[in-house]
């Protein structure tokens, strides 16, 4: 009665990588665009994930609160605190069983440093490195009538995980392109060690409205198309590799983003293109996102 750990897209780690910026930005990952010195950016992101197969239905709903602060022109720090609601329904001996948890998940902090930038009239190109940790702040010892919940169903993972990578952004008045490479190293907790992950993301945001830019600062409506490639190595359970874990997934995420000078409203649906998972790992059906970020 377990859910194999292939929950890349719902963990706070990935939520924090989609943290924020002081500009239009990808919805499913980060950007190299800046947070001005002394400025705070807030993002509230609702993530609804559904996965199922013949005998299992998993719903994970997460509300992630993200706070970003511009330490200086090149360095920004971010904090992420998710609230998660997980529910698994599965058949056990001919009976439908429901197991669930709800509560604050694992908090993350990370820093992003822009080491290259080229500004010109009408466009900017930036490359930034980032790195951080996910702390085991969520409850990882939740139980129900059937006993202790499996780790992927817990609100928290119990482990300290580190992550880092590089993100590049090219932005013009008409469109924006972002690309990000991320490595996540997971540690052991409660006899379980999630497999390390490598992730490559790309995003194109194309301005639909206004069609032509006149004077002033009009609101922008962007069409967004993102691609995410994720590879996870196998988990270890008490030192042994789990053959039903890890694998490679490719997702496409079409979406819309409405950008004003005070806030950004955005939404996307992440759909699986390919899920080459090991053994019987649970496959995602979709991940829907609805977000609001504002500058204060």
């Amino acid at each position: 009665m377990s859910v194999r750990r292939h929950d890349h897209l719902i963990g706070p780690l990935l939520l924090c990588l989609a943290a924020s910026s002081a500009a239009a930005a990808p919805i499913t990952f980060n950007t190299a665009l800046p947070v001005a010195r002394g400025e705070f950016i807030n993002r509230e992101l609702l993530v609804l994930k559904r996965a199922d197969d013949a005998g299992r239905d998993l719903d994970v709903n997460t509300l992630a609160s993200v706070l970003g602060y511009g330490f200086n022109a090149d360095l920004a720090i971010f904090g992420v605190l998710p609230y998660v609601d997980k529910e698994l329904q599965l058949m056990v001996g001919g009976t439908r069983v429901k197991r669930s948890s709800e509560g604050f998940g694992d908090a993350s902090v990370f820093a992003r440093y822009t080491f290259f930038k080229q500004n010109a009239r009408g466009h900017t190109f930036r490359i930034a490195a980032f790195g951080g940790v996910k702390a085991p702040t969520g409850d990882d010892n939740e139980t129900d009538a059937l006993g202790r919940l499996p780790i992927p169903l817990q609100s928290g993972s119990g482990s300290w995980d580190g992550f880092g990578g590089v993100v590049a952004t090219y932005q013009t008045l008409a469109f924006q392109v972002d690309a990000q490479l991320t490595y996540t190293a997971k540690s052991e907790a409660n006899g379980f060690e999630g497999g390390d992950e490598v992730r490559l993301d790309g995003s194109l945001q194309y301005r639909l409205l206004p069609r032509a830019l006149g004077r002033g600062t009009p609101d922008f409506l962007y069409a967004v198309l993102e691609a995410n490639v994720l590879h996870g190595s196998k988990n270890r359970v008490f030192g042994s590799r789990d053959p039903n874990s890890g694998g490679t997934s490719i997702f496409l995420s079409p979406g819309l983003q409405y950008v004003t000078h005070r806030y950004i409203l955005e939404s996307s649906v992440q759909l699986p293109v390919s899920q080459d998972l090991n053994g019987g790992a649970l496959e995602n059906d979709y991940v829907a996102r609805l977000g609001l970020r504002w500058n204060f």
Partner: protein, 110 residues
């Protein structure tokens, strides 16, 4: 001089005097910025420029990469102060120029 011409001269002259008086109590600066390409990008800068002493209004011309500042008459903005605000936002400061005309009358070519 015909009465119509005299009357026209008086009306136009009066209008010019009023306009001159209206323009005399405010000054304008244009700040050129590079790398700023979306509305949300501009807000962090706009907010700080609005807090400068004597600044009454800030207009953003996104396509041109410009901020237009309306300041009280007699107020002089420091270029260092303005350029630091732009740099702290991670954009490139390209210059600041003084203008007598209000933003609403500025030339398209600017």
């Amino acid at each position: 001089m015909k009465p119509f011409v005299r009357l026209s001269a008086v009306v136009i002259g009066t209008a010019l005097l009023y306009a001159g008086a209206a323009f005399a109590d405010e000054t304008h600066y244009r700040v050129d910025v590079q790398g700023m390409n979306c509305p949300f990008c501009a807000y962090g800068i706009e907010k700080k420029l609005e807090k400068l002493d004597g600044v009454e209004k800030v207009d953003v011309e996104l396509a041109a990469g410009q901020f237009w500042l309306e300041v009280d008459d007699g107020v002089t903005l420091s270029e260092d102060t303005v350029s630091n605000i732009i740099r702290d936002a991670s954009f490139t400061f390209k210059g600041m120029t003084h203008h007598e005309e209000p933003a609403s009358l500025r030339d398209e070519s600017e």
